[in-house]
Symmetry: C2
Subunit: 210 residues, 2 copies
């Protein structure tokens, strides 16, 4: 499965489909058509079929996709069938909110694929405290904890001014996947993926439509 060939936007839609199936599972019969799934997701049926066909032939002509199987295929593709270990770097207001969010109760039968395994900050007043039962370590210990705790994804909730250097350090420690909340464009070497969520950019974009 050459991931380089799969557009990001397809992966995003697959995650969307999976969530829709998990949310609405109890309302559905054994099969769901591309038409029905498309309606839920707000896309075209052709797009649903194309997205799914990139990973295999999951459907049955004349009937649709078997819901149970489709869910487990999607979970496997997205690695949602196993726990993924997440660390948060920067335990300010936002980092704390994200920690709570990640450990919150999940609704009904949804899989809970993310485990919060470590928290980091540089403030001596914070180091040693606990959030949601997870200890805050000093950022200097990050490298050691990557192997100890098996950190797979690092969430950056640090100030913009230090985001790039924190990222660089984390990359050196062997982490390849990042979700960045600092309002800066980060540069990373090949093989490292950085998704960004930028509140002020989102708001600024909305303001254009005023």
């Amino acid at each position: 499965m050459p991931k380089n060939r799969i557009p990001d936007v397809v992966v995003r839609r697959l995650a969307q489909y999976l969530r829709l199936l998990e949310d609405q599972g109890f309302l559905m019969g054994h099969y769901i058509s591309s038409q029905e799934l498309a309606e839920l997701a707000g896309v075209t049926p052709a797009q649903v079929r194309k997205d799914l066909a990139m990973f295999g032939e999951f459907g049955k002509q004349g009937v649709g996709y078997p819901v149970r199987d489709l869910k487990s295929e999607l979970r496997a593709i997205l690695k949602a069938d196993r726990p993924t270990n997440v660390a948060i770097l920067g335990i300010g207001e936002l980092g704390t909110a994200l920690a709570r969010y990640l450990t919150r109760e999940q609704p009904e039968k949804a899989s809970r694929p993310f485990s919060l395994v470590a928290l980091f900050d540089v403030d001596p007043a914070k180091v040693g405290q606990h959030v949601q039962g997870v200890r805050i370590d000093h950022l200097d210990d990050f490298s050691r904890r990557v192997s100890e705790k098996g950190i797979q994804i690092a969430v950056l909730a640090v100030p913009a001014s230090v985001a790039q250097s924190v990222l660089d350090g984390a990359v050196k420690s062997g982490v390849r996947l990042f979700l960045n909340f600092a309002p800066v464009k980060l540069k990373a070497p090949d093989g490292v993926k950085v998704n960004s969520s930028d509140l002020s950019l989102e708001l600024q974009q909305l303001a254009f439509y005023l």
Copy 2:
């Protein structure tokens, strides 16, 4: 200026360019070339020129774009030259973090285009309390406050289960621009714009690359 003709992705890059100019302002001379701006933004020079050309001829051949003028043009385009009134709906952990974020100190000369003017929740224990000096009102008062406070953008930080109905109510109250943090796909009528920021979708997308 027919906004329908401007792709979303262009607006997003313009906001990015503006931020880069504001962040790096003190390092720059009077002019910046599309080449230089492109490097900062991580895009091609042709894209920078094309994006800017959609709104006018801001550059001077052989020289580049005058930084001061370009900044103020971008601010005008993005409405960052005037305050925009934002309300947050749902003052849980995330809503509180967002409130703090929106009222935080801004670095140096950056414009501060967003004013947090109102907060809403349905929990009687929260109504009447203050966050960052702003009172939490009951969501029932939303409609009244829209006109009183001139709410232009509503940030949805409510639970996923009620996000759609809260959105519907806010639309009835006359708000047209939304930033949604609930992990659900929201439906809105034409003329209403909803941007979404979905943490679990971002993480799920990263997990694909494990």
